[in-house]
C-alpha cells in the first residue's frame, strides 16, 4: 500500500509531472509565473482543487456513474464538479485573501479549464485507482504543478536581467526556458520505482 502510494506520488511530482512531462495546464503555468508569490498562491489553489476534485469525482464516478452505466458522461460530470470547486475557492479567496484574489485575476476562474485538473480525474479512472490512491494522485499532481510553476517563476525572475537578443523578448524567451526546464525534467523519465 505504502509503496504504491509512494510510487504514485513520485510519479506525479517528478516523473510524470503534469506540466513538464504531460504538458497539461500550460496556460496558468505561463500566465501566472511572472511573480514568485502569485505563482505560489496559484500552485496552492490548483493543488487544493485537484485534491478535492479527485475525491469527489471518484465518489461520483464509482457510486453514481458506474452504477447507472453512465461512464460515457464522465467528462461532463467531472467538469461540473471542477467548476463548482473553483467557484468555491474563488469565493473563499475573495473573502479571506483578497490580495491573492486580485493578483490571480482572470487565471483563478480559469482553473476550471485547467486541463491538468480534468486530466487528473480522468487519469484516476483510466488507471483504476481506489479512493485513497486517487486523492494522493490528485494532491501530488497539484504539488507537481506547484513545483513546476515555482521553479519557473524563479527562472523568470532571473530572466529579467538576462542579456538575450531583442527578438526573444517577452513570451518567446519564457517559452524557450520552459522548454529547457521540461527537457531537464525528462531526466526523470527513465526512473523506475519498484
Amino acid at each position: 500500500m505504502f509503496t504504491s502510494l509512494l510510487s504514485i506520488s513520485l510519479g506525479a511530482i517528478l516523473i510524470n509531472n503534469f506540466i513538464f512531462a504531460q504538458f497539461l495546464g500550460i496556460c496558468p503555468f505561463l500566465g501566472v509565473s511572472s511573480k514568485m508569490d502569485t505563482a505560489f498562491g496559484m500552485g496552492i489553489a490548483v493543488t487544493f482543487v485537484m485534491g478535492l476534485s479527485s475525491a469527489i469525482c471518484w465518489v461520483i464516478n464509482e457510486y453514481i456513474l458506474m452504477n447507472l452505466g453512465l461512464a460515457y458522461m464522465q467528462t461532463l460530470a467531472f467538469i461540473l464538479v471542477i467548476a463548482v470547486l473553483v467557484q468555491l475557492v474563488e469565493m473563499f479567496l475573495k473573502k479571506s485573501v483578497p490580495s491573492l484574489y486580485t493578483a490571480l485575476g482572470i487565471y483563478l476562474p480559469l482553473i476550471t479549464t485547467n486541463c491538468a485538473v480534468l486530466g487528473v480525474v480522468l487519469l484516476n479512472v483510466q488507471e483504476d485507482y481506489n479512493f485513497i490512491e486517487s486523492v494522493v494522485y490528485g494532491i501530488t499532481g497539484g504539488l507537481g504543478f506547484l513545483v513546476a510553476i515555482a521553479l519557473f517563476a524563479s527562472v523568470r525572475d532571473r530572466l529579467q536581467f538576462a542579456d538575450y537578443p531583442k527578438a526573444f523578448e517577452g513570451f518567446a524567451i519564457s517559452l524557450v526556458s520552459a522548454g529547457l526546464l521540461a527537457l531537464a525534467f525528462m531526466g526523470f523519465s527513465g526512473m523506475q520505482i519498484w
Binding site: I60, G69, A77, L80, V81, M91, F161
Partner: protein, 270 residues
Amino acid sequence: MDNVLSAVLVLGIMGGVFGAVLAVAARIFHVDQDEHITLVREALPGANCGGCGYPGCDGYAAAVAAGEAPPDKCVVGGLPVAAKVAEIMGIDAGAQEKMVAFVHCSGEEGVAKKFFDYTGPQDCVAAMRFGNQGPKACQFSCIGLGNCARACQFDAMHVENGAAVVDREKCVGCQACVAACPKDIIKMVPYNQKVLVGCRSKDKGAQTRKVCDVGCIACMRCQKECPVGAIVVKDNLAQIDYDKCIGCGKCAEVCPRKIIHPQKIYVQTR
C-alpha cells in the same frame, strides 16, 4: 430511452445540488461591498502608484471607506481630490503639504570616481550585483542606470550625466522612485524646502574625499553656521530638520564641497 433519461436526471440532480451548495457558500463567503468604496474609487486618479501607502487606488478607497485612512493621502490628486473624498465620506479634508522626491546624490559623471566600467544590463539592481555597490566608487552613490526614471509614471525623473534628477514641478510625490531605488538614496522632501543636502554618504570625510569630488565630508561648518540649529552632522553626514529650517541658505554658502544646494538653482543648472 431509459439511458438518456437517467443521464439527464443524474446530471440535472447533480447540477441542482451543486447549485444549492454554491448558493449557501455565497451566503457564507459574502463580502459586503460598501458603496463608499466605489464612490471614493471614482474620485481617485486611478494611477495605482501606491503613493498613499496602500496597494493601488482600490486598496486606498477600501481603507478610506472603512475609516482607517484619512482622505488626504492621495499624493497625485492633492488637495482637490482630498476635498472630493472628504465630501463623499462627510469629513474634513485637512491641510496637506506637498512632498516631492529628491535624490540625495550629486555624484554625476566626472565628479564621482569610478570603481569599474560597467557594460551589463542597464538596470541598477543588476549593476548592484557587482560588489554590492555598482560601478561608482562611493557605496552611497546614485548608480545612474535609471530604475527610478523607469518607475516614474509622470516623467518627473531623469538620469542626467550619470545621476538621477527630479523635476520638482512634475513630481506628484507618489514615491514609486523611492521604492525602486536599490541604494535607498531617494527621499521625500517638502516642496517648499529651500536647501537640501545632495549627498547620502556616511563614510568618514577622508574616505568620501577619495571617492567623490563633492560628497559631504562632515566638516561641521554648516552646523556651526545655522542660526536655528536645523542642520546637524550625524553619521558623518549633514542632515536637515525640515521642520526647523527657515531657508536662510547660510549653510549652502559655507559648505566647502558645495553639496548643500539652494533648491531652485540646483534643478536649473544640472
